[in-house]
């Protein structure tokens, strides 16, 4: 069903502006579900996701532009490098929990940002990298090449990839690995007494989550065409966090809704001009206060009322 929705969306929105927003949505969905895996399922307070997003973006772009690595190889390497970075952070912070882990991850994100900013000979720093190309055209037998300067095609590519990742994460979560992670989330000490090697699985969760963020980073670079370190400032971590929470942490579909809502909301609010960000901030705060399960909780509540009303109607007639 999701595939059909994805297929239809660019057709409903033929304008360049809305297709751009769809692509940003797709990238954000990818970031959000990746973050939720380590945050909601493994229970690790990771607020440094912007670092892995940036590492993936810069690694893949530099590989392509400086070493002429083919796009998809660079894409895989970018995700891999981010994943390794995530695993390293986890192993480094193996004994940390709660707020300590949160600040450690934030510190890691700050350091990463500063390296991207200051290592000008490698990353160009604030001067930026320009004219980054979209993914190269894909030629399938019998069809004309699929070109990614076409926004609709790019959307299908990214959204399709997001769907694939969603599927993979969903399978992981339902598998014994998912149970292991949940056990670690609920009570790490007890999990250890059950023989679970918490450090290994935490590193795994981090690695998966960061690799997904790295992949999103590669897409970001090839979509926007311009890479500057400011795009990976720590406020990006907070945006991703907000998407996960507002959508519904600990569910996979929640972050999808959260990402879509928090991407589209600022665009819709452009009309109200200066109040835009105030409304955005208020939305985040209010959702947390009154609907901590996020949109998923809200939808369930609505569904329950609708069904209850329907049941009442049936019994009456």
């Amino acid at each position: 069903m999701a595939a059909i929705t994805i297929a239809l969306l660019p057709l409903i929105f033929p304008s360049s502006y809305w297709r751009t927003n769809l692509i940003v949505c797709a990238i954000n969905v990818l970031l959000a579900i990746g973050l939720d895996f380590v945050l909601g399922y493994a229970g690790q307070l990771n607020i440094g996701q912007s670092a892995f997003y940036g590492i993936g973006a810069y690694a893949s772009t530099l590989l392509i532009m400086k070493l002429a690595v083919p796009f998809w190889v660079a894409f895989a390497l970018g995700a891999l490098i981010s994943g390794i970075a995530g695993a390293l952070l986890s192993l480094f912070a193996v004994r940390l929990r709660g707020h300590y882990l949160a600040i450690a991850s934030l510190g890691f994100a700050v350091i990463t940002y500063q390296i991207l900013l200051n290592w000008i000979s490698l990353t160009q720093g604030p001067l930026g990298i320009y004219a980054i190309l979209p993914p190269p055209p894909i030629t399938l037998p019998g069809l004309s090449p699929i070109v990614f300067t076409n926004l609709a095609n790019l959307f299908y590519l990214i959204a399709g990839f997001a769907l694939l990742i969603y599927f993979i994460l969903d399978q992981l979560v339902r598998s014994p690995i998912g149970e292991t992670l949940t056990a670690i989330r609920e009570d790490e000490l007890s999990a250890a007494s059950l023989g679970i090697d918490a450090p290994k699985w935490k590193a795994f969760a981090f690695a998966v989550s960061s690799a997904v963020a790295g992949a999103a980073g590669c897409f970001y670079a090839s979509f926007v065409g311009t890479l500057v370190p400011d795009a990976f400032f720590i406020t990006e971590s907070f945006s991703m966090l907000a998407m996960v929470i507002v959508g519904g942490m600990g569910t996979l579909i929640g972050p999808v809704f959260g990402a879509i809502l928090l991407t589209i909301l600022p665009e819709l609010l452009r009309g109200i001009g200066d109040l835009r960000l105030i409304v955005y901030g208020a939305t985040v705060a209010l959702v947390v206060l009154f609907m901590p399960g996020g949109l998923v909780q809200a939808i369930r509540l609505v569904a329950r009322h609708v069904f209850a009303a329907g049941a009442k109607f049936e019994t009456r007639s």
Binding site: S15, S16, Y17, W18, T20, N21, V24, L117, N118, I120, G125, P126, L127, G128, Y130, Y220, V224, G225, T226, V228, D230, A231, E267, R270, G273, D274, R276, L277
Partner: protein
Amino acid sequence: MKTSLRIPLQFAFLTAFILAGAGTSSQAADKVIKIGGLLPISGPGSYFGVQDKQGVELALDQLKGGVNGYKFEVQYEDSACSPLPATQAAKRLLDQYQPDVVIGEECSDATLAVMPLMDQAKVPLLNAGSSSIKITEPGNPWTFRIMPNEVMQGVDLATNAYKRLNARTAVLLHENTNAGIGNAKVFADTFGKLGGKILEDIGFGRDINDFTAIATRIAGLGSVDVIPTYTLEGQGLKITEALTQVGIVKGGGGKAIQLGAIWLPFGFEQKAGKAAIGYIRIVQFDPTDQRAVVRDFIKGFKTKFNGDPTHLNAHAYDQIMLIADVVRRGAKDAQSIRDGLAATKDFSGVTGSVEFDKTNQNIKMDTVHYMETKPDLSWESLKWN
């Protein structure tokens, strides 16, 4: 009158009104020049956007009567000084508003990100805020810049420092942004080629509030002739104060002269006080300029906004006035505005004259004004150009 007749009659009147109104308004709607304002309105970049809007509003006020029968209309979209939001804002502008010309952005990376979009949409982009040479160097037919770029400013400043001020040693101080790094590099290259020595190149983040440590470091370097400083108003103030406290610059009893480019508005001295004495810098708007167009602009601005105009106000004002000039010469849509801009000669704006070269960069050096801060904190125009 009977009810049955009244309603149709009212309806007829209403329809007549609407048609008449629509008639006149559609006539006016036909002759509108739509200007897109791609400016940072949120976040720290709003420092630029807020002032740009003022300049635009003043210009629109003065053009109320229209130009050649065309009414001028502006729609702003928030580009937030950053590539992705700028891309989204530009697309929204192009898709939904369909402007004939766009003014913006301020930050070089945002401008560079939207240039290809303007190209594709065949809408001219008139820029007055980004200094990176990359914006005009490739020679894009749809991008125009009226402000002197980093090369024009840097080469001129370094040459003047070496020749007129006899400076032989310099310490570069710049914010770690595209504009800061780019401008500093041009100065360093030129100054070095002339035979000057760059003692240190100190870059700092935009989150630094206290510059005493940096000033102390410079003080420990020995004899420094000039300190080219590339930064915005807020940090610029702190830097000047710190340099004075350490006693290096003229305002603090030392001998080094602070040089500047990038965005220190008139009114800076009033905030910095004695620390600013002796500061020589390039400004893009000279409030002591005696040309009528400048005097009128200042008067109009003071009346409307109750304050002194800065170069940001002036740039935005010039952007609108230049478009008006182009329309006066017969342009009426995106393509003709583009051609009109390219053909501009002898346009006299409040920031200086405008004439574009083959890469659509304004090459008139009278846009590079030099000012020195006098002991009474007023500006003296140095007339080096």
